[in-house]
């Protein structure tokens, strides 16, 4: 077992960086800091958990890395329409997560199929965003849903507490 928890390390580094920012030692936007921390956690987590039968942590690592990439892109490039980004990003993030689960255990071809399907769906929704009204409608629903993420957190939290299983 590793002695240092990547998640603990990420939180400590994040806390220190935010303290330094508070005292004016670091000049960076909070989005930039959080994005880099997500990238950091993602890389460390994937590196430490690959091939160790920790699928959940591995998936979380890839998810975090891809989210960091998304934040980086949105922070450093002028995105004309965020609506256009959200739906393909969702597909790509989940697709990459399942792809790494497949890389972790090559016998589970089901995850390869799922990841290919999700990545193709991501490409399709990005490339044909202007062609289909349904994709634009779906993207606007995704945007609205993500705008209310606080409610999602509360619902999941209550669900976890009241769930009978361990």
């Amino acid at each position: 077992m590793n002695r240092v928890s990547p998640l603990a390390l990420t939180f400590i580094v994040l806390g220190v960086i935010l303290f330094l920012k508070l005292f004016g030692e670091i000049i960076a936007s909070e989005t930039h800091i959080y994005g880099n921390m997500l990238l950091f956690y993602g890389i460390v987590s994937v590196f430490m958990n690959m091939g160790k039968q920790r699928k959940g942590v591995l998936f979380l690592g890839v998810f975090s890395f891809m989210l960091g990439v998304l934040l980086y892109v949105m922070n450093n490039f002028d995105i004309m329409s965020t609506n256009r980004m959200i739906l393909p990003a969702l597909f790509f993030i989940f697709g990459s997560g399942f792809l790494f689960i497949y890389f972790d255990d090559l016998s589970e071809t089901i995850f390869l199929i799922i990841s290919i399907l999700l990545i193709l769906a991501g490409y399709f929704t990005f490339a044909f965003y202007d062609s289909f009204e349904l994709i634009r409608f779906s993207a606007s629903i995704s945007k609205k849903t993500l705008d209310y993420w606080e409610y999602l957190f509360i619902i999941i939290g209550v669900g976890i507490i009241t769930d009978r299983r361990i």
Binding site: Q53, R54, L118, S138, E150, I154, V158, R165, I166
Partner: protein, 228 residues
């Protein structure tokens, strides 16, 4: 399976005394060692007042949003309530640890949700009465979380993920794909189910196709019947 809201308080903080030659149990307020998440203050109070510890935990957690009142109260109680030395930390079972981790995760998500939902920025600053600015809250909380995670790394790493992806037929709601994925990832079933619903909702039904595909391509887990 035991419902967490049906938890019976443990009788570890009791001592038997005699009054008029009749034995009676005198309870003492002590921090719990067997059912703790942080320092056992909430579980100790629950054992003393014979109520469910999760109710006290939730009250403390939500009151922490009221300018940090819950955090201050918890710290004071931690300093003044003595620890219970009758039960060793090593005696705490891995099942109890998993249950506590689960409750902690749930409470954390509720706090984050409530914090960003009901408290506008700088409207209700943390520890406002002693003029600590709210901007200090996040770095401080992140540092505390990091230290706590590192300290409890071993107990949090307890994972029940299985090696082969299978779809269990027991305890399923539909085809059992969510439970299968949850067991494979070592995650909570409720999170996987919720993510499927959310994904299906935001992608106009693609999540349903994905669910059916996973159910079709995966092997069902056989139920083992043991004859006595």
């Amino acid at each position: 399976m035991q419902n967490i809201f049906d938890e019976e308080p443990k009788p570890e903080n009791r001592s038997i005394l005699f009054k008029d030659d009749e034995p009676y149990i005198r309870k003492r307020l002590k921090r719990s060692n067997s059912n703790r998440i942080f320092f056992g203050v909430c579980a100790g109070l629950a054992e003393y007042y014979n109520i469910n510890p999760n109710i006290i935990r939730l009250i403390f957690a939500l009151s922490a949003l009221l300018g940090g009142l819950g955090v201050v109260a918890y710290t004071i109680l931690f300093l003044f309530i003595p620890a219970n030395d009758s039960i060793n930390n090593a005696e705490v079972s891995s099942k109890a640890q998993l249950l506590n981790n689960k409750i902690l995760l749930g409470i954390t998500l509720i706090i984050i949700g409530f914090y960003f939902l009901i408290i506008p920025p700088n409207y209700f600053p943390f520890l406002f009465w002693i003029k600590i600015p709210s901007t200090l809250l996040f770095p401080f909380v992140f540092l505390l979380i990091g230290i706590w995670l590192q300290k409890n790394y071993r107990s949090i790493s307890l994972s029940n993920s299985q090696r082969k992806f299978q779809r269990p037929l027991e305890g399923r709601l539909l085809l059992g794909a969510s439970i299968g994925l949850a067991q494979y990832f070592g995650a909570h079933t409720i999170i996987v189910r919720f993510l499927f619903i959310l994904f299906a909702f935001t992608t106009l039904g693609f999540g349903i196709i994905l669910y059916l595909l996973i159910a079709l391509l995966s092997q069902p887990k056989e139920v083992v019947i043991i004859d006595e």
